[in-house]
């Protein structure tokens, strides 16, 4: 028995030797990864982004118009309970508002003006440069599109494990706890071409990938611009293009992002 144990330990020794030989390779890979995510390369790659003007978005009519446009175009149901009230626990939403304090917890201090704390801030998927949801998804049902940096979502591949919801630091993902079509039929009905979902899958904002391919702007941006005083409240564009509208604003105005400390590289910018 002792003999076999010695043999085992010997083999284990060889194995660890093998692993330590492989470590330099791993090192090289990690180095490559860190370079990949560096700022230089990111700038060259196409990355769609949005700049949101928080002050302009204090107009409730504008925000409602944007959210309505999005949710109508994408057949996002309004989930209600038996009494017809909004079921907050099972809500599905792609774009909505949160209080400033909840959106930017790191920017809040005890002396911050009350009116700012209570400001409603438009929130949606950040289409992160290093999205945690993509990293954790076991089926690649959510992935980062190379061509424009959109974090895409395939509701037909999603198995509904909700790992992405645990991983997303922004609460941007919704799960269909219930049969969504049931609520669509009760509400505004099924509109247009966008496919409805089945129960048991996760969904979120896709930057209107479908509309973009038709040469249109995202539905929320289009709707917000139509509201009086809503011009440029939501601005959409490509970060890799130095002359894009988003870059022109980013170069001029003081903007912030949500939870930058986590390293996810959010691509929704806020003018404070």
């Amino acid at each position: 028995m002792d003999d076999t144990r010695r043999k085992f330990l010997k083999k284990a020794g060889y194995a660890s030797l093998g692993i330590s030989c492989a470590l330099p390779l791993l090192d090289a890979k990690l180095l490559a990864m860190s370079e990949e995510t560096g700022t230089h390369e990111a700038a060259a790659k196409k990355q769609l982004a949005m700049v949101i003007d928080i002050k302009k978005c204090q107009n409730k009519q504008l925000v409602d118009a944007a959210a309505n446009a999005c949710h109508t175009v994408h057949n996002v149901p309004t989930i209600t309970d038996a009494k017809g009230n909004i079921n907050k626990e099972e809500e599905v939403k792609w774009i909505w508002t949160e209080k400033f304090a909840n959106t930017f917890p790191e920017q809040v201090h005890a002396r911050l003006e009350r009116s700012i704390l209570d400001e409603d801030v438009v929130v949606l998927c950040n289409h992160c440069s290093r999205p945690p949801c993509v990293r954790v998804c076991p089926t690649q049902a959510t992935w980062k599109r190379d061509t424009d940096g959109i974090v895409m979502m395939d509701m037909h591949r999603c198995i509904g494990c909700r790992y992405c919801m645990a991983a997303c630091p922004y609460g941007a993902r919704s799960f269909n706890w219930n049969e969504p079509r049931k609520f669509l039929e009760k509400g505004r009905g099924i509109v247009g071409e966008y496919p409805t979902r089945t129960k048991g899958v996760v969904e979120k904002c896709t930057f209107c990938a479908d509309r973009l391919s038709d040469g249109l702007e995202p539905a929320c941006v289009e709707a917000a611009n139509k509201v009086p005083g809503g011009k440029d409240a939501l601005v959409f564009g490509d970060l890799s293009d130095p002359n894009s509208k988003v870059n022109l604003i980013l170069n001029k105005k003081h903007t912030i992002c949500r939870k930058v400390g986590l390293g996810t590289g959010p691509n929704i910018y806020y003018i404070i």
């Binding site: 028995m1 002792d2 076999t4 144990r5 085992f8 907050k88 626990e89 099972e90 809500e91 949160e98 304090a101 909840n102 959106t103 917890p105 929130v123 945690p132 990293r135 954790v136 998804c137 076991p138 089926t139 690649q140 049902a141 591949r157 999603c158 198995i159 509904g160 494990c161 909700r162 790992y163 919801m165 645990a166 991983a167 997303c168 630091p169 922004y170 609460g171 919704s174 799960f175 269909n176 706890w177 219930n178 049969e179 089945t198 129960k199 048991g200 899958v201 996760v202 939870k259 986590l262 390293g263 996810t264």
Partner: protein, 395 residues
């Protein structure tokens, strides 16, 4: 060998029937969930994982703890475990099975679950978790059945099996480590994102699993002629004692960093678990009595196990073990997953309480585990008793 599973006393069939009834109830509740969706559970947008994933996490620990009998026996030639080792391996089999079932019932689209294999995703910890769990199930089935079959035939197990036995040791560590990594790698959840999570998981697992083994060994001793041996049970009790103390130490380490650093994100989780959170005049504290009870169980049992008079007293130690399991279950099967979601990433506090159908599905899965365990243990007892009987005949 399997024939032992098909003939047994009235009590054996009654026990299987009892598990069967619970399984049927669980299946009924699951059918409702399949029809209506996960809306029938208490989970929500904010607390998107609940009881199922919690139970999965807890049972991975029970499964991994087989290594606590395999390692001393095969690596250190601890002879007292000669008859216990199979008990550990045959706990691991139903434990992994329940783990997989808990994951399965948590899926929103269970019919698509094979997508995990069809689109293997190396950067997803969940893919690795599935792989190591599958592997562990196969390893334990293979090792357990072959060693028991060889024992039945009165010969030594084949030499090639040794490789798989050794492999199963780091593999057991891997299943719980990878399960901890599911949580510990999420930057958005400060409560989980701690390096101590995997060591803590292992320590609590090595306290829980051997505790269960002690209880099972004492039961087997009582109801059959097969005696796993007092020495083996004592060694298990020593293992439980060390693991429990290490587990408590790890908990204190974690609590210290969170509480002493006084960083709100880390503090909130502990506040939620042990005193409750307050917001706009509302108190959120459903977990508090549970977590406090769990802590009392864990610290008192940890203390009691220090005394050889208790630890090695076969009449007392199984009861202590019951409370050890309760304590670690509350910690891992209740507090750990849910608290990670409270408050949510958007700072909202949504509490979670499992619903009746959700609990029924959970009990159903545990009953499947218990059913398989009963059958496997019946086979072990059958083989052992018969061998003992043959020995007597020969003389």
């Amino acid at each position: 060998m399997l024939e032992h599973a098909f003939k047994g006393s009235k009590n054996y069939w009654l026990l299987l029937g009892f598990w069967g009834i619970i399984i049927a109830m669980g299946a009924g509740a699951y059918a409702v969930q399949l029809r209506d969706g996960l809306t029938i559970t208490g989970m929500s947008r904010d607390v998107s994982w609940g009881f199922y994933i919690s139970q999965f996490t807890f049972m991975v620990g029970v499964a991994a703890s087989a290594v606590m009998v395999v390692l001393p026996y095969y690596l250190h030639d601890h002879k007292a475990f000669a008859k216990t080792v199979i008990l550990g391996e045959f706990v691991a089999v139903p434990a992994v099975l329940t783990c997989m079932l808990f994951i399965f019932v948590d899926m929103g689209q269970p019919a698509r679950v094979l997508n995990v294999i069809l689109h293997p995703t190396l950067h997803s910890v969940m893919f690795w978790d599935m792989s190591v769990l599958m592997g562990y199930l196969v390893l334990n089935l293979l090792i357990g059945t072959i060693t028991l079959d060889c024992e039945r035939k009165g010969k030594h197990y084949p030499h090639w099996l040794k490789f798989f036995i050794y492999l199963s040791i780091p593999w057991a560590v891997s299943i719980h480590t990878v399960t901890a990594f599911l949580y510990a790698g999420l930057e958005g959840r400060p409560f989980w994102m701690t390096a101590i999570l995997a060591p803590r998981f292992l320590a609590s697992a090595f306290a829980t699993g051997p505790s269960l083994l002690i209880i099972l060994a004492v039961i087997v001793r009582k109801i059959s002629k097969f005696d796993p041996g007092e020495k083996a049970i004592r060694t298990l009790a020593t293992i439980v004692t060390y693991s429990m103390l290490i587990n408590l130490f790890f908990f204190l380490v974690e609590a210290f960093t969170s509480i002493y650093s006084d960083m709100p994100h880390h503090l909130h989780a502990f506040e939620y678990m042990f005193v409750g959170l307050h917001e706009n005049g509302v108190t959120y504290d459903v977990l508090v009595p549970w977590m406090r009870a769990g802590m009392v169980f864990s610290f008192i049992t940890g203390f009691l196990m220090l005394f050889p008079g208790i630890r090695w007293n076969l009449k007392v130690v199984p009861y202590v073990c019951v409370f050890i399991i309760c304590g670690t279950w509350i910690e891992k099967g209740l507090g750990l997953v849910i608290t990670g979601f409270i408050p949510s990433t958007l700072g909202h506090i949504t509490e979670y309480v499992p619903t009746a159908p959700e609990l029924m599905v959970t009990f159903g899965i545990y009953a499947i585990g218990a059913f398989v365990l009963t059958v496997l243990y019946k086979i072990i007892i059958g083989v052992r008793e018969r061998r003992a009987g043959y020995g007597a005949d020969a003389q």
